[in-house]
Symmetry: C2
Subunit: 360 residues, 2 copies
Amino acid sequence: MNYKIAVISGDGIGPEIVREARKVLDVTGKKYGFSFDYTDLLMGGASIDVNGVPLTDETTEKAKASDAVLMGSIGGDAKTSSWYKLSPDKRPEAGLLKLRKSLNLFANVRPAYLYEELKAACPLRDEIIGDGFDLVIMRELTGGLYFGERKTIEENGVKKAIDTLTYSETEIRRIARRGFDIAMKRRKKVTSVDKANVLDSSRLWRSVVEEVAKDYPEVTLEHMLVDNCAMQLVRDPKQFDVILTENMFGDILSDEASMVTGSIGMLSSASLNETKFGLYEPSHGSAPDIAGQDKANPIATILSAAMMLRFSLDLDEAADAIEAAVKQVLKDGYRTGDIMSEGCTLVGTVKMGDLIAERI
Amino acid sequence: MNYKIAVISGDGIGPEIVREARKVLDVTGKKYGFSFDYTDLLMGGASIDVNGVPLTDETTEKAKASDAVLMGSIGGDAKTSSWYKLSPDKRPEAGLLKLRKSLNLFANVRPAYLYEELKAACPLRDEIIGDGFDLVIMRELTGGLYFGERKTIEENGVKKAIDTLTYSETEIRRIARRGFDIAMKRRKKVTSVDKANVLDSSRLWRSVVEEVAKDYPEVTLEHMLVDNCAMQLVRDPKQFDVILTENMFGDILSDEASMVTGSIGMLSSASLNETKFGLYEPSHGSAPDIAGQDKANPIATILSAAMMLRFSLDLDEAADAIEAAVKQVLKDGYRTGDIMSEGCTLVGTVKMGDLIAERI
Ligand SMILES: CC(C)[C@H](C(=O)O)[C@@H](O)C(=O)O
Ligand SMILES: CC(C)[C@H](C(=O)O)[C@@H](O)C(=O)O
C-alpha cells in the first residue's frame, strides 16, 4: 500500500525534525509493507520568503489531496513587537490558522504524558508526580476568538479593538463527541473546561457537553472553570484523563500541560476533521535559536508520525512499533539536550533519528 | 485617626477569615494609634439569601462611602451545572463583577510570593525554586470578555452564543501605568502578556503598553504570548517581576501563579481604582467544603488587610508590622492544615489569628 503524505517542514528546526520523522516512517514502511509518497509543501515563513504569503491555495489544495499532513513547525517565537506590526496575513502563523480552517481541522488532540525515564525532567516534585500522569487535551481548533470577527476602530480619537468569541451548538457538539470518543478508549473521564460563570459561549458549551454526555453513560463528566484548571494542572495532573475545551483555553492549558511534563520535546499532536484526514505536528514551536545545529529533539515529530499512522492510516501495528522504539531508546539512555540528565548519553537530532529507526 | 471600612464577609469560609483579619487590624490600630469603623455589608450568596439579588445598590453605595473594602470570599465553587442555569444575576459571582464595575476597580494586584518557610509546600522542585520567587500579576479587571456584550441566539434552530472582547486605548493605558508604577518600586521589569498573533485587542494592547513604557525608561519591558506565559510560570517563575495582562488572561495566569507557590492560603489581593480607594480580598475562594470548621487559613485575608493599610490608608508602618507578624508566626512553626508540614504545629483559624495578633 502506498500513502500520499503532504510534508510541511516549515520554519526554524522544522526541516531537521521532519527529516528524522521521514527516516523513521520509511524504515517502518519497509518492515510492515507499505510506502509513502511525500509532497513537500511550503507554508509559514518559508512560504513568505518564496511566495510573499504564508499559505498559497496550491499548498492548501495539495494538502487536501493527500492522505495526511506531516508538519514540522511554523513561525518564529518573535520576541520583538515589530513582528506584530506586520499585517496579520504576512505573519507565518497566519498560514497555520488559515490551513486549520480550510481543512476544517476542528479537533486538536494533544497528549501530555510523563515518561517513566524522564521523571527527572518534570518540574513537579516526585510526591505530586506519583506513578506519573497521562492526559489528553481535546481543543476545539476552528472556532472561538481565533476565528471571530475583529476590528480596530477609532471613536473620538480613541482607538478601540474588538474581537468576537462565537460558538454554535454544532461546533460544540462535534468536538465534544470527539472528546468522549477518545475518553472511551482511555480511562473514561472527561473534564470539560469553560468559564461558565462569565461567558454565554461557556454556558452554551456546558449545556451541549451535558447533552452529548448522555450518549456516553460509561464516561464520567466533570466541569471545571478554566482558572481552576490552570491551578489543578500544577497541583495534581494525575486527576485528568481527557480535558475538553474551546480554542483559546485549549491553547493556554495545552501549553501549560506540556510544560508540566517537563519534556515538551516528546509531545505529539494531531488536528483532525470529520474524516480520517489529519495534520500531525509536534506540540513544541520552531525554536529558531537552535535551528540548524543538530540539537533539536525529533521525538515529538516522530511520535506525531506514529499518530498519523494510527489515526489517519489505520496502521496500528506500525504505530505501536514506533512508540516502542522511542521508549526503547529512552531506556537505552540516549537523550537530546532538552531531556538530558546525569548518566545518559547526549545525542544530536540525526543520531536520535537513527537510533529510533534502528529499533523499529 | 478613624477609618471607615466596609466589610463584606461573603460566603463559605468568608466570615471566619474576615473575623481574624479584623482582630489583627484592631490590635494593630491600638498599637499605632488609629481605629476602624466597620460597616458589615451583604454580597454574593449571603445577599441572595436575604435580598434575592447578589448585590444591592445599598451595598454599592455604602462601599463607595468607605475608605476601603475588606472582603472574605464570594460564591461557592459550584461543581454542578445547575448552578450555571440560574440566571446570571442570581449567581453570587454576579455581585462581584457588578461591584468591580460600579467602583471602577480596574487594577487587580495579585502577588505570588514563595515564603522561605513554605518551600516544602511548593509543587515545584527545589532546583526550579532556587532562592524563591516573588512576582506580581497586574490584571485589568473591568474590561475585556468579562464586560463585553454577549448574547445567545437561535439561527435556523441552532443555538449560537457570542461574547465580545473589547479594549480601548484609555483602558489599556491606565492599567499599563499601574503596572509600570509597581515595577518601579520592585525589580523594574514588566512582562506584558497578550495573544498578539491572533487578537486585534492584543495588538492594540501591545502598542499602548509600548507607548506607556517610554515614560519609564528604567523599566525593562518584554512581551510574552499567553500560552508561553502559562508554560514559563511552571518552568521558571523566578524570571518574572510584574506580569501585566488583560482580564481573562489575568484570571487564568494569576490562579496558575498562586498554585505554583503551593500556598494560595497565603496570597492577598487588591483591586484599585484611580483614587486611593481599594477592595482587598484573599486570592483563594470560599472553600465551602471546610466552611465553619475552624480549618481555613486566615493569613491571605490578614495580609490583604495589610495591603489595605498600605495602599488605601498610607499606614506603611502598621502594614509592615502585620507582615512581620505573619513571618514570625511561620518561623515559630505554626501552620494551618493547607500549609502543614512535618515538625510544625497545626492550628485552627482562630488560633492562627490570635498568634498573629500577639506578635504585632
Ligand atoms: C501560532 C499560534 C497561532 C498557535 C495557536 O495559538 O493556536 C500556537 O500557539 C498553537 O497552539 O498551535
Ligand atoms: C468568580 C469569578 C467571576 C472571578 C473572576 O473570574 O474574575 C474569580 O475567578 C476571580 O479571579 O476573582
